[in-house]
């Protein structure tokens, strides 16, 4: 077996600017239970964020990217790559990233691409950005994880599938609000969740989604990273995990030795739902909104299919003075208009007019 492969670039990299986006509408998931289950059964979260009629992964990415840019203080023409990870890109063929790059003013001298890996497409873009910046090929790269989650009406996924995500501008550590101490990636071929090319809704392996998929991958990625860094849970003030529901991230955190006080700030799923490629990343933005210089943060994503990316970050002195340049993530969480299932069905395009 090969050695534990800690990922560390030649040139130290960090997050220069970060930004979140959550749409305004909220569906209390008791509404899903009312329509599909006679109001019976346990609820995995409280409510989930739902996009307006005029929103999709492109528009949400643009706003998160503008927030990240505002905090970075850099000119958009300095960005060398615009990478958007999602499983709900509006086009099957035509990049989300070119529209985002154009809207924020990063075109035309830029590498643009879309990333795909279920819920960890966004953190893959972060890994690549660290490499791109760390090798000196570019000074700045924009990595976005964003989704407007799909779910078949009445399916278990419909109780949790939310919308939102986050954008990070990765750059040299000297300008960063937090630096990457190291990262780690772990992947196997595990069929827990998929969507075929022309299918509207994804399929999932029912009971298969827990143990061999989510828990095995997130736990192994986190443990391998901690071991390679010679760190333990108590060295971190905060930790954030992929959040398909409230239970999974709490359970994996506990088995790794993290307490509720370490994961609370990043645990947004009860109020906004599972934002898929945006899930762990938007949790990190919420942590960066309150972290102090010197705080260490662990972020672990999970993507079905399956794999996990784990990152160790340390906040710098620049964080407190730059965070005020864009709206805090909690402002988006609290901006909320409650809707019922009928309005939800309309907003999600489930009513066909012709």
């Amino acid at each position: 077996m090969a050695e534990n492969k800690l990922l560390v670039p030649d040139r130290e990299a960090g997050i220069i600017g970060y930004g979140a986006y959550i749409p305004r509408y909220r569906l209390p998931v008791k509404e899903v239970a009312r329509v599909w289950a006679d109001g019976k059964g346990g609820l995995p979260i409280h409510e989930k964020a739902v996009t307006g009629l005029d929103e999709d992964v492109i528009t949400m990415s643009i706003e998160a990217a503008r927030n990240a840019l505002a905090r970075s203080g850099i000119d958009p023409t300095e960005i060398g790559a615009v990478w958007v990870g999602s499983e709900s890109h509006p086009y099957a063929v035509k990049p989300t990233s070119t529209v985002v790059a154009e809207a924020i003013g990063a075109t035309p001298h830029v590498l643009a691409a879309d990333w795909e890996f279920a819920c960890k497409a966004g953190t893959e873009a972060i890994q690549a950005s660290i490499g791109f910046v760390g090798s000196g090929m570019a000074d700045y790269a924009l990595a976005i994880g964003m989704d407007t989650a799909q779910g078949r009406p009445g399916d278990a996924l419909e109780y949790t599938a939310g919308a939102g995500g986050a954008a990070f501008i990765i750059g040299p550590a000297k300008d960063a609000v937090c630096v990457f101490e190291g990262s780690y990636s772990y992947a196997t071929d595990t069929p827990d969740f998929w969507r075929r090319a022309n299918a509207i809704y994804p399929e999932h392996g029912e009971r298969f989604t827990g143990e061999p998929a989510y828990f095995s991958h997130t736990q192994t990625a986190a443990e391998s990273l901690l071991e390679a860094l010679g760190a333990t849970a108590s060295d971190f003030r905060f930790a954030v995990f992929h959040q398909p529901n409230t239970k999974f991230p709490m359970r994996v955190a506990k088995s790794l030795g993290f307490g509720q006080d370490q994961i609370e700030a990043g645990l947004l799923v009860p109020e906004i739902g599972n934002t898929y490629a945006g899930s762990a990343m938007i949790g990190l933005t919420s942590i960066l909104d309150i972290a102090d210089p010197g705080d260490r943060i662990l972020m672990v994503s999970y993507g079905s299919g399956a794999g996990s990316d784990a990152f160790s970050l340390r906040a710098t002195e620049a964080l407190p003075r730059r965070r005020g340049s864009a709206p805090a993530t909690l402002i988006y969480v609290k901006r909320r208009t409650e809707i019922d299932y009928a309005t939800y069905a309309r907003l999600r395009g489930k009513l066909v007019l012709k």
Binding site: P23, R24, G52, L53, D54, E55, D56, I58, T59, I62, E63, P90, Y91, K94, V99, E102, A103, I104, G105, P327, I331, Y332, R335, T337, L353
Partner: protein, 133 residues
């Protein structure tokens, strides 16, 4: 609208990019290469802040073709903080009352699609300002 026309308009439509007059400093939107204030050439690009306030507003119940699925939706004339008036849809209003003078900010949203198979069109709308200023 033709694909080529969407493409030519994308900068001004995605991000409210207009012009500034090098002679009298007037900010111009939409861009027209001639300053409406002093009549001189004005071709320098200018990125508007996106902040403004509602100058006038109404609600559309009978939508033009291609927008039927969006009714009812609010439309406003917005006074940008740099001066120009812009007509655009309001979005994400929720239960907030819209009045003359309500502070708004530009967001880039989906304006529509050319049918089931055509391209998606994105452009500016305005929403109630997220953070008080």
């Amino acid at each position: 609208m033709e694909t080529s026309q969407h493409w030519r308009l994308r900068k001004q439509r995605y991000a409210l990019v207009g012009e500034v007059c090098p002679h009298c400093e007037s900010k111009i939107f939409p861009p027209r290469d001639i300053c409406p204030d002093c009549g001189e050439d004005a071709r320098e690009m200018y990125q508007f802040s996106g902040r403004g306030e509602v100058y006038s507003h109404t609600t559309v119940y009978q939508a033009p073709s291609g927008h039927a699925e969006n009714v009812p939706y609010p439309v406003a004339i917005v006074r940008l903080e740099e001066g120009p008036l812009v007509t655009a849809q309001l979005t994400d209003v929720g239960d907030q009352p819209i009045e003359i003078g309500t502070p708004v900010e530009m967001v880039t949203r989906k304006l529509g699609a050319d049918g089931e198979r055509g391209m998606l069109v994105y452009g500016y709308k305005f929403r109630p300002a997220l953070v008080e200023r």
